[in-house]
């Protein structure tokens, strides 16, 4: 860090300090500073997550399970390194919950920068979870104690919510632990829509049409999934409310209705239709009113797979007007069309990153398909995967991860990697091939 930027940072720090004191929040500063003085952030932050403390005897087995879920969330975030709890000295069921009861020196010796200390109580079918994040070096709590309550069967969601809060307190951005990933799964000879939690748990089957269902796309508020189904004999776009599984027709024009993409921030979708003969991308309402024909089609060319920029002002899509499939972008306000990819002769399935800084896609090189990313200006094009069939990328809403389908472990499954190409783990473990993942936005929280 140069001297100039050091002083600028120091000045900003003093302003920050004043603001916080004025708000009576000075206690939280050290945790923030901790992150700021290591801007390179090469290493993950070591955090201790002891078993949760059960305050009532019911469901005592959750003490370890909940701790596992929280550790797993924090590990997946890419920001934290949960410590092996074998080295922990205190019995988690005896150890205290308040700052005054925490033996910070012990935790510090074990290498923990932070300690996540949680307790829970079960009453009948409901559960209440209390979580505190402690700054080990500063010997104090970070932020306020958090509390979550709800139905017992939703305990995983509550642990995810605390993990989200930890991310928010330490990085300034919520995690993606309350998000879902929708995908297509082979069931016998049929393809059905499913979704699961971001960590692969709680798979839910959405369609049972015993037909071909494809291309799930989450609505911006995570309440609906648009998808394609052949159940009427022709591909039409349907919507489903995931909370009550009620379905409705979105787009059933004569010809082909495929590849829905819900527009960020608006109750509108981009779809590919052939209702006017050629293939083109249209903007439709959730009840199928055509709002606009974008006119990206060109003669008898293919136009398919739109995916919106986060501001909803542009979309990336696939066109073969050059002779083979390439990624293009279209600006809906200027009507300008731009070819983005020039390397390779089979580039499909674009996915615009939630921060707008990258477009991921599936590209063929030799006989193999890999996930590539490219800047929206066409620069820094490079592959993230190497070999086999890696297709259909989609981004986590914080842009840190990419889910995609891959056959690297045999049959096609959904895998997740960090968006710099590292990490990589298998999300879906059900039998039957899975493909076409779509990562939901975060849920709005009160």
């Amino acid at each position: 860090m140069s001297h100039r930027s050091y002083f600028r940072t120091a000045r900003v720090f003093s302003i920050l300090f004043l603001v916080l004191i004025l708000l009576g929040l000075a206690q939280t500063v050290s945790a923030v500073v901790e992150l700021q003085i290591s801007p390179s952030a090469i290493q993950r932050i070591p955090i201790a997550v002891p078993d949760f403390k059960y305050m009532t005897p019911e469901q005592s087995q959750l003490a370890r399970e909940m701790s596992d879920v929280l550790s797993n969330d924090l590990n997946i975030s890419g920001v934290f390194r949960p410590l092996d709890r074998k080295g922990f000295l205190e019995d988690p069921q005896v150890m205290g919950l308040e700052a005054s009861e925490i033996k910070f020196q012990d935790w510090s010796r074990q290498g923990a920068d932070f300690l996540a200390r949680c307790s829970y109580q079960v009453q009948g079918n409901s559960i209440r979870l209390d979580g505190r994040l402690f700054d080990v070096a500063g010997r104090k709590i970070v932020g306020a104690p958090k509390s979550y309550s709800g139905e017992l069967r939703a305990w995983r969601q509550m642990v995810h919510a605390f993990a989200d809060d930890i991310m928010l307190m330490l990085t300034g951005e919520r995690g993606v632990f309350d998000t879902k990933i929708a995908y297509v799964q082979n069931v016998g000879t049929a393809k059905e829509i499913f979704y699961c939690d971001f960590d692969g748990y709680n798979p839910v089957q959405v369609t049972r049409d015993n037909n071909i269902a494809l291309s799930p796309s989450w609505s911006p508020d995570q309440s609906q999934i648009a998808f394609v189904s052949y159940r009427d004999g022709f591909p039409k776009v349907y919507g489903v409310n995931v909370s009550n599984n009620s379905r409705y027709l979105i787009s059933g024009f004569p010809g082909m209705n495929i590849t829905p993409a819900w527009r960020p921030g608006r109750n509108e979708l981009a779809v590919t239709l052939t209702k006017d003969g050629g293939q083109d991308i249209y903007l439709v309402s959730p009840t199928g009113q055509v709002i606009r024909k974008f006119g990206v089609g060109f003669g008898s060319s293919i136009s398919v797979s739109p995916d919106w920029s986060p501001d909803g002002q542009k979309f990336a899509y696939v066109s073969n007007e050059s002779g083979n499939p390439q990624i293009y972008t279209f600006d809906v306000s200027t009507g300008q069309k731009k070819r983005l990819t020039f390397s390779g002769n089979y580039n499909t399935s674009p996915a615009w990153s939630p921060k707008g800084d990258w477009i991921a896609y599936s590209g063929r090189e030799g006989g193999e398909f890999d996930i590539f990313i490219i800047r929206p200006d066409g620069s820094e094009n490079h592959s993230l995967t190497h070999g086999s069939r890696n297709e259909g990328p989609c981004w986590s809403p914080d842009g840190r991860m990419i889910a995609y389908s891959s056959n690297k472990q045999g049959g096609s499954a959904i895998r997740v990697m960090y968006s710099n190409g590292t990490g990589d783990w298998q999300l879906t473990r059900q039998s039957g091939a899975q493909e076409l993942p779509d990562w939901s936005p975060r849920r709005n929280r009160q």
Partner: protein
């Protein structure tokens, strides 16, 4: 899903792949965001329920029931313009050939080759003889390439076959197209011989 699988995933990965330079230039913005984050975190209501997802938008039309075919009776034969047993036999014989002969395409292509046009000419002869029969032209692809693009490609194949017929037949034919992309292969091998069989327009008679 094993716990250890997750824990072994790259421990020493940076917060993001933005370099140190970018981070510095963004520090002040980051700090401001940090203040907001802290305020948001601390002023957040302490007790939180995990809410059910709210409703979204207006629900449109419900699913319609899928149309089903029925047995052939004399009225249906007459609708097809078939009035005798001999005509019936002729129709059924030719229909078999009509449905069994596919129109093939090159890889990632939907232009009609000369052999493809020859097959389509035979289809037109059948449709000239039985112009009232409803036909669905299915577009199919081989397994290479992505699911969605192949649906779009199959649509272009079915459309190319349909246009060829419509361009040289003046009668009011009942033609529709549907693309199955790579979802309904006829050959299951992973070699060029299978791929070639799967890159096709397949004709189905609806009677």
């Amino acid at each position: 899903m094993t716990q250890s699988g997750f824990f072994s995933v790259g421990y020493y990965i940076g917060l993001s792949y933005e370099g140190g330079k970018r981070m510095k230039s963004k520090q002040s913005v980051f700090l401001v965001l940090m203040i907001f984050a802290l305020i948001a975190a601390l002023s957040a209501c302490a007790k939180k329920n995990v809410p059910p997802p709210p409703g979204y938008g207006a629900a449109g039309q419900e699913y319609g029931a899928a149309a089903g075919g029925g047995p052939m009776d004399e009225a249906k034969w007459r609708e097809l313009g078939i009035n005798s047993e001999a005509e019936k036999r002729e129709f059924l014989d030719k229909a078999k050939v009509f449905e069994n002969q596919d129109v093939y395409f090159d890889y990632d292509a939907y232009t009609l080759t000369e052999p493809a046009k020859k097959v389509l000419d035979e289809k037109m002869a059948f449709l000239k003889r039985f112009p009232r029969v409803a036909v669905t032209i299915e577009g199919h692809c081989d397994e290479r390439g992505t699911t969605e693009y192949n649906i779009a490609l199959g649509e272009r194949r079915a459309n190319a076959a349909q246009q060829y017929i419509l361009n040289s037949n003046s009668s009011n034919l009942k033609l529709t197209t549907v693309s199955y992309g790579k979802e309904r292969p006829v050959a299951s091998g992973h070699d060029e011989a299978s791929y070639a069989k799967n890159r096709r327009a397949h004709f189905v008679l609806n009677y």
